[in-house]
């Protein structure tokens, strides 16, 4: 609570104080909030908006892309080797772009979004980065392979086996 309110307390009768209380915090809630999002974890009777979803006790939303980023990030490792790593590459890049947008959103106004969805987003980002690196390595490997042995070796099993046999 602010200093103004504490200053008002001795001057007024208890009944009047109670009647004034609901009007004050509505504006201060958004302007001065040293604890950030944590303040909203406690149920607030002066909440100007109706509770949203019942998850965190009011008005916080999950980040819109958090779930998608997490799922894409995990799928990027499973598909990292399919089609020369291209699918994993695409999934990883899409996940990173989506997560970047959402991260900016969250940092701009933290109090709108839930912390757990932000954690999900970060986990998805880490997964996407790992998947991206692995599929990039797979793609690089394929390209190097094609350069060294030629596309004919890449398309012909027998020729490739012979090349590898000669190497050993």
């Amino acid at each position: 609570m602010s200093e103004e309110q504490e200053g008002q307390v001795p001057n007024h009768q208890p009944n009047q104080e109670n009647s004034q209380q609901p009007q004050n915090p509505q504006n201060q809630q958004w302007q001065q909030n040293p604890q950030g999002y944590q303040n909203f974890n406690q149920p607030n009777p002066n909440n100007p908006y109706p509770p949203y979803g019942g998850g965190f006790g009011g008005m916080q939303m999950a980040l819109p892309n958090a779930t998608i980023v997490l799922v894409l990030g995990i799928l990027s490792i499973v598909t990292c080797c399919c089609f020369y790593g291209l699918i994993g590459l695409v999934l990883g890049i899409v996940a990173l772009i989506l997560s970047r947008k959402d991260k900016q959103n969250y940092l701009a106004n933290m109090s709108y979004y839930t912390v757990s969805s932000y954690k999900n987003l970060n986990a998805g980002r880490v997964c996407a980065i790992i998947g991206l690196i692995l599929s990039a390595i797979a793609l690089l490997f394929c390209i190097l392979f094609a350069i060294f042995f030629g596309f004919s070796a890449l398309n012909d099993q027998e020729a490739l086996k012979e090349i590898l046999r000669e190497m050993q």
Binding site: K119, L154, K161
Partner: protein, 117 residues
């Protein structure tokens, strides 16, 4: 949407051998393996999954060691998105890194022991 896993489970119980037989004969073939004849880092996942459905965990591990961690990761992710565990995101990260490490290690092991063909 809720019914799909239930139907799959019922099919598996009622006609388990039939489903597994169908899966065994309809495995997707890896394009990389088809072109070059060399195993890719993901080869063996489907055989391993079928072996797991048969209940043979050791065979499943031999085909592809990372199947169980990946399945656990999937199931945990779905549960986490549904119920929102407290340290869920961190655990997902850990399991993901663990699964990745197993995949990379097993592929290096394969290369080292000439089991690629």
């Amino acid at each position: 949407m809720k019914g799909i896993p239930v139907v799959f489970f019922l099919l598996l119980i009622g006609e388990g051998s039939g489903v597994i037989h169908w899966l065994e004969n309809h495995l997707l073939s890896c394009p990389f393996k088809k072109l070059t004849g060399i195993d890719c880092p993901g080869c063996g996942l489907q055989r391993s999954f079928v072996a797991l459905l048969k209940g043979d965990v050791w065979m499943s591990f031999k085909f592809y060691p990372a199947t169980l961690p990946i399945l656990a990761l999937f199931i945990f992710t779905i549960l986490h998105l549904k119920f929102d565990f407290k340290n869920g995101a961190f655990l997902i990260k850990l399991m993901y890194i663990f699964a990745t490490a197993i995949i990379v290690t097993s592929y290096i092991y394969k290369i080292y022991h000439h089991q690629l063909f």
